[in-house]
C-alpha cells in the first residue's frame, strides 16, 4: 500500500488546494501519470504518480482548501513505500482566457507575493479563507490581541483551540521568519473588515454582477491591506532624463538583434535598481522584530499584470546579470506569469520591487510596499518635457520615478541616497556597465 502525500510546490509551501482529481478509485496508475492538480494562490501544478498501483482511496475531496503538505491525499494498493509525488508545473490556466494584451513590461502597482510562511502552519487557507477556531479561542484571541491568522491550530482538523491562543504572543504576526514585517495586531487585523453591505450603502441588489473572489484577488486584498495599514510608508520622487538611455538602448538592441533579444527601458530600470541597491545596501533591507535583514543580493520583483490580478516574478541577483540576460529572463517570466506557469519560488521572496505604468501614460504614482521588502520603485512614463539647463529652457525626455519606503528600514535620507545613486545610472547609462 502506498500513501500519496500532498506535495510541496515550493520549499516554503505549507498547504494548498486540491483542485482536481484526474483519477478515481479503482484506476490503475503508473509512474508519471498525472493524478491530481494542486493550486496555491498563484500557481496550479500537476501531481504525478511516482509508484504504480491501483487507486484504493481518494482521501481529500476535490476543491478542498488548506490541505497540509505531507497530508495523505490518496492511497494506492500495490507494493512500495510511501513517496511524495513530484509536482510539475502545469500549463492550464484556471481562468482559461487568452492572456490580455499587456506588454511584458506592463506591470501594475502594488504587487503581492505570498507571505513568507512561518514554520507553523496557520490554520487559514492561503487564500485568507475562513479560520477554524473554537468560540472560546476566538474570544480569548480578541481579548489578548492575538491575530488568529498567525496561530496554528492543534485541535481537530487544525482547528485553533484555547490552548493555541494561550501559547500565542499578543501581537504575534503570521510570519515568524526574520523576513517578516510585524503587523500591529488588532482583532480584525487579517479578517476582512466588517463592512456594510452594498445594499445598506444604497446600491440596489440586481444593479451589479458579483464576481467571486478568487485566490489571487484575496491574496492581493489581504497583503495590500495589511501593508498599507501596518507599514509606515512614504514616497520620494525624482525626475530622470532618459535621452542618453534611449540612445544607448537603440544601440544595444541593434547589437542584440541577431540574438533575438530586445532590451526594454524597464529592463534597464531593473538593472540600475540592482546596481543602486548594491551601492546603498541600506535600501536592500527588510524590517523584522528581531532586527534589520540586510539582503546579500538584489532580487528584483517586477510587477506583471495578469488576467484577474498581478504577480511579481523575480529576477534573482539582478546586480550580477547583464542587460541581455535580464531582458531574456524578464520576458520569459512575464509570459509564464500570464499563463500561471510560474513556480512558487519564481515569485516568492524578492528584496525590492519595480512597478511600471509608463506604457499607460501615467506620469507618477506611489506603489504600496510589497512586504517584507523595504522599498518599491514606481516608474512613470517617459515623455518630452521642458527642462531648464543653466538659464535656458530645453526639451528632454523625462520620466518621474517614485520610491515608496518602509520608514522602519529606509529613512528619508536613505531613500534619497538610493535615488541619488539610481538616477545617474539611467541618465548616463554607460555607468551601468561599470
Amino acid at each position: 500500500m502506498t500513501d500519496i502525500l500532498m506535495p510541496a510546490l515550493s520549499p516554503t509551501m505549507e498547504e494548498g488546494t486540491l483542485a482536481k482529481w484526474h483519477v478515481k478509485v479503482g484506476d490503475t496508475v503508473s509512474s508519471g501519470d498525472v493524478i491530481a492538480e494542486i493550486e496555491t494562490d498563484k500557481a496550479t501544478m500537476e501531481v504525478e504518480a511516482v509508484d504504480e498501483g491501483v487507486v484504493e482511496a481518494l482521501l481529500v475531496a476535490e476543491g478542498t482548501e488548506g490541505v497540509k503538505v505531507n497530508a495523505t491525499i490518496a492511497r494506492l494498493a500495490g507494493e512500495g513505500g510511501a513517496a511524495a509525488p513530484s509536482p510539475t508545473p502545469k500549463t492550464e490556466t484556471p481562468a482559461a482566457k487568452a492572456p490580455e494584451p499587456v506588454k511584458a513590461e506592463a506591470p501594475k502597482p502594488a504587487p503581492p507575493t505570498p507571505a513568507p510562511q512561518s514554520a507553523a502552519a496557520p490554520a487559514r487557507a492561503p487564500e485568507g479563507d475562513r479560520i477554524f477556531a473554537s468560540p472560546l479561542a476566538r474570544r480569548i484571541a480578541e481579548q489578548k490581541g492575538v491575530d488568529l491568522g498567525s496561530v496554528s491550530g492543534s485541535g481537530p482538523h487544525g482547528r485553533i483551540i484555547k490552548a493555541d491562543i494561550e501559547a500565542a504572543r499578543p501581537g504575534q504576526t503570521k510570519a515568524a521568519a526574520p523576513s517578516a514585517a510585524p503587523v500591529v495586531s488588532t482583532p480584525a487585523s487579517t479578517a476582512p473588515r466588517q463592512v456594510q453591505s452594498l445594499e445598506q450603502m444604497g446600491i440596489a441588489p440586481g444593479s451589479y454582477d458579483l464576481i467571486p473572489l478568487d485566490g489571487m484577488r484575496k491574496t492581493v486584498a489581504r497583503r495590500m491591506t495589511d501593508s498599507f495599514r501596518d507599514v509606515p510608508h512614504f514616497p520620494l520622487s525624482v525626475d530622470i532624463e532618459l535621452d542618453e538611455l534611449l540612445a544607448a538602448r537603440t544601440k544595444i538592441n541593434a547589437m542584440l538583434e541577431k540574438q533575438g533579444v530586445k532590451v526594454s527601458v524597464n529592463d534597464m530600470v531593473i538593472k540600475a535598481a540592482a546596481v543602486a541597491l548594491m551601492r546603498v545596501p541600506e535600501a536592500n533591507a527588510s524590517y523584522t522584530p528581531e532586527g534589520i535583514a540586510m539582503h546579500h543580493h538584489a532580487d528584483i520583483a517586477m510587477a506583471v499584470a495578469v488576467p484577474g490580478g498581478l504577480i511579481t516574478p523575480i529576477i534573482r541577483s539582478a546586480e550580477t546579470k547583464g542587460l541581455a540576460q535580464i531582458a531574456t529572463e524578464a520576458k520569459d517570466l512575464a509570459e509564464r506569469a500570464r499563463t500561471r506557469k510560474l513556480k512558487p519560488d519564481e515569485f516568492q521572496g524578492g528584496t525590492f520591487s519595480v512597478s511600471n505604468l509608463g506604457m499607460f501614460g501615467i506620469k507618477s504614482f506611489a506603489s504600496i510596499i510589497n512586504e517584507p521588502q523595504g522599498a518599491i520603485l514606481s516608474v512613470g512614463a517617459g515623455e518630452k518635457r521642458p527642462v531648464v539647463r543653466g538659464n535656458e529652457l530645453a526639451i528632454a525626455t523625462v520620466m518621474t520615478v517614485t520610491l515608496t519606503c518602509d520608514h522602519r528600514v529606509v529613512d528619508g535620507a536613505t531613500g534619497a541616497r538610493w535615488l541619488a545613486a539610481f538616477k545617474p545610472l539611467l541618465e548616463d547609462p554607460i555607468t551601468l556597465i561599470v
Binding site: 473554537s134 472560546l136 474570544r139
Partner: protein
C-alpha cells in the same frame, strides 16, 4: 510465533476491550487477557446490572403514585428474584456482546491471570504456562471496592456487602445501612429504598455526593429524604460488627456516638486500583497509593508498558477508561489522538438523577476564576410539569472573563441523558453566546439547559 502480538491488553473492562477493538481496527494483532468475565466490572457487576435494578425500582416507585396521572393499579407488588434475574440477564447479554466483538475483530481472548516479566522491549506477559510477547502491553486491570478490615468494613457475603453482593441478594432487606454517599452508595440506597427497604446512608464528609456541586448535594439530599432515605452526614464510622440478625454500626457525628442496627450493610467507601501480584514493582512501574502513575498518553515509564482506566487513577468511570484507551492506542499507532483533556461527565442514576461535567462553582472560585452562575429549576419547565418530574434544576458555571462554559450540574429526571450537551459544548470550547444562540426544542426538559445559560447572564426568560 502464535504468542507474539502487536498489542496485549490486560483486562477486558470498558477500558481494555475498547482499546483492543481500536487496536485491531488500526491493523494490529491483539490479545486480551481476562481472569473472569469479558466486559469487566462495568457490564457484569457495575454500570449495567445496577441500571437494570434501578429501572425496576423506578417503575415500582412510579406505580406508587399512579393516581397523580389519573391511573390506578389494584395492588403493586414485585418478585425480587425476578428483578435480580432480569439484571443478570441484561449483564449476560452484554457479556455475550463483548465476546462477539472480540471475535469479530479477531482479538485473541486469553483467560487467566496475567503476570509481567522483564522482556526484550515491552514486558513479557505470563498467563499460566503461556508466555506472550508484544510490542506494546496495556494494563487495563481496573479497580475493586475498597475495604477497611480493621473496623469491619469488609464484605462477608451475607450481611455485609460490597456492590457485588448487593447486586445478587436472595431477598430485599427490611433495613439497610449504606456506608458512603458517592454514586455507588446512593444508587443502591435509591434502588433498595424504591423497593421498600428502610435505608440510612452514612457519609463522613459534611454533605452527600461530595464530589458534586454543593447545591446539587443539597437538592439531592432533600429529594432523597422526600423518598424516605435517612442520612447521617459528617459521621465517622468507628466499627462495623455483626449481630445475631444483622449488623451494628457504631458511628460518631458531631461528637455524638450512635449505634445503628440494620439487617444489611453495604460498604461503598471508594475503590482501589488492581495493581497487585502482576510483578509491577519488579519492572519499576511507579505506583501512587493504588494507581499506576502515567504520562499524558498512558505511558508508565517502562518501555512498551501503558496503563489506562481505573488502574491509572480517578475519575473511576467506564467512559474515561474507554477514552484513555483509544487515546493510548492511537498514540501508539502514531495517529494524532483525540484530546485527552476533554471534560469527563459523571452520572448517578438515582431517582432523581445527578449529572455533572467540569468545575463546580466552588472549584471555579478556588481556581481564582470569577464565575458567572446560572440556574433553572425544573418546577417551571413545561415538559417537567407535564411529566410530573419537577424535582431538580440545572446549574451552569461560566468563566466570567472569557464566557467559557466551565461546569454544568444537574439534578432531575433523566438528566444523565442531557449532560452530553454540555460536555459537547465544553469540548468544542463553547462560550455562553453559543449556548444561548442554540435553539432548544420545546417542550423538553433540556430547555432548562438553555435557560440556565441565559440566567447566568441575566437573560432568563421563564422566571
Amino acid at each position: 510465533m502464535a504468542d507474539a502480538f502487536d498489542v496485549i491488553v490486560i483486562g477486558s473492562g470498558p477500558g481494555g476491550y475498547v482499546t483492543a477493538i481500536r487496536a485491531s481496527q488500526l491493523g494490529m494483532s491483539v490479545a486480551i487477557i481476562e481472569r473472569t468475565e469479558l466486559g469487566g466490572i462495568c457490564l457484569n457487576w457495575g454500570c449495567i446490572p445496577t441500571k437494570a435494578l434501578l429501572k425496576s425500582g423506578e417503575m415500582y416507585e412510579a406505580l406508587g403514585h399512579l393516581g397523580d396521572y389519573g391511573l390506578s393499579v389494584e395492588k403493586r407488588s414485585f418478585d425480587f428474584s425476578a428483578v435480580i434475574a432480569r439484571s443478570r440477564k441484561v449483564a449476560a447479554q452484554l457479556n455475550a456482546g463483548v465476546t462477539f466483538l472480540m471475535k469479530k475483530h479477531k482479538i485473541e481472548v486469553v483467560v487467566g491471570t496475567a503476570r509481567l516479566e522483564k522482556g526484550q522491549g515491552a514486558p513479557t506477559v505470563v498467563v499460566g504456562a503461556r508466555k506472550l510477547t508484544a510490542r506494546h502491553v496495556i494494563l487495563a486491570t481496573g479497580a475493586r471496592a475498597r475495604t477497611i478490615p480493621t473496623i469491619g468494613l469488609e464484605a462477608d457475603g451475607e450481611r455485609i456487602w460490597t456492590y457485588r453482593e448487593a447486586l445478587v441478594p436472595k431477598a430485599a432487606p427490611k433495613t439497610m445501612v449504606v456506608i458512603g454517599s458517592g454514586a455507588i452508595g446512593m444508587e443502591f440506597a435509591s434502588f433498595y429504598r424504591a423497593l421498600g427497604s428502610e435505608v440510612t446512608v452514612i457519609e463522613m464528609l459534611p454533605r452527600i455526593l461530595p464530589v458534586e456541586d454543593e447545591e446539587v448535594s443539597r437538592a439531592a439530599h432533600k429529594a432523597f429524604e422526600k423518598r424516605g432515605i435517612k442520612f447521617r452526614v459528617g459521621a465517622a464510622v468507628k466499627k462495623l460488627g455483626k449481630t445475631k440478625a444483622g449488623v451494628a454500626l457504631q458511628i460518631e457525628a458531631g461528637g455524638m456516638a450512635e449505634t445503628l442496627e440494620a439487617d444489611v450493610c453495604i460498604v461503598a467507601v471508594g475503590i482501589v486500583g488492581n495493581v497487585e501480584e502482576m510483578g509491577l514493582e519488579d519492572l519499576g512501574v511507579k505506583i501512587d497509593r493504588t494507581h499506576i502513575v502515567t504520562d499524558s498518553h498512558g505511558g508508565t515509564g517502562v518501555p512498551g508498558l501503558y496503563a489506562i482506566g481505573d488502574v491509572a487513577g480517578p475519575p473511576w468511570l467506564a467512559h474515561k477508561a474507554s477514552h484513555e484507551g483509544v487515546h493510548c492506542i492511537e498514540h501508539i499507532a502514531g495517529l494524532k489522538p483525540s484530546n485527552l483533556t476533554s471534560p469527563i461527565p459523571g452520572c448517578t442514576y438515582t431517582n432523581p438523577q445527578i449529572a455533572s461535567v467540569g468545575l463546580t462553582e466552588a472549584q471555579a472560585r478556588e481556581q481564582g476564576l470569577e464565575p458567572k452562575v446560572g440556574r433553572f429549576p425544573f418546577k417551571v419547565n413545561g415538559k417537567a410539569i407535564a411529566s410530573g418530574e419537577t424535582d431538580g434544576f440545572v446549574k451552569t458555571v461560566f468563566d466570567g472573563k472569557t464566557g467559557a462554559l466551565i461546569g454544568a450540574h444537574m439534578v432531575g429526571h433523566e438528566v444523565t441523558e442531557m449532560i452530553q450537551g454540555y460536555a459537547l459544548a465544553m469540548t468544542l470550547e463553547a462560550t455562553e453566546e453559543d449556548i444561548q444562540a442554540t435553539v432548544f426544542p420545546h417542550p423538553t426538559m433540556s430547555e432548562a439547559m438553555h435557560e440556565s445559560a441565559l440566567d447566568a447572564y441575566g437573560k432568563v426568560l421563564h422566571i
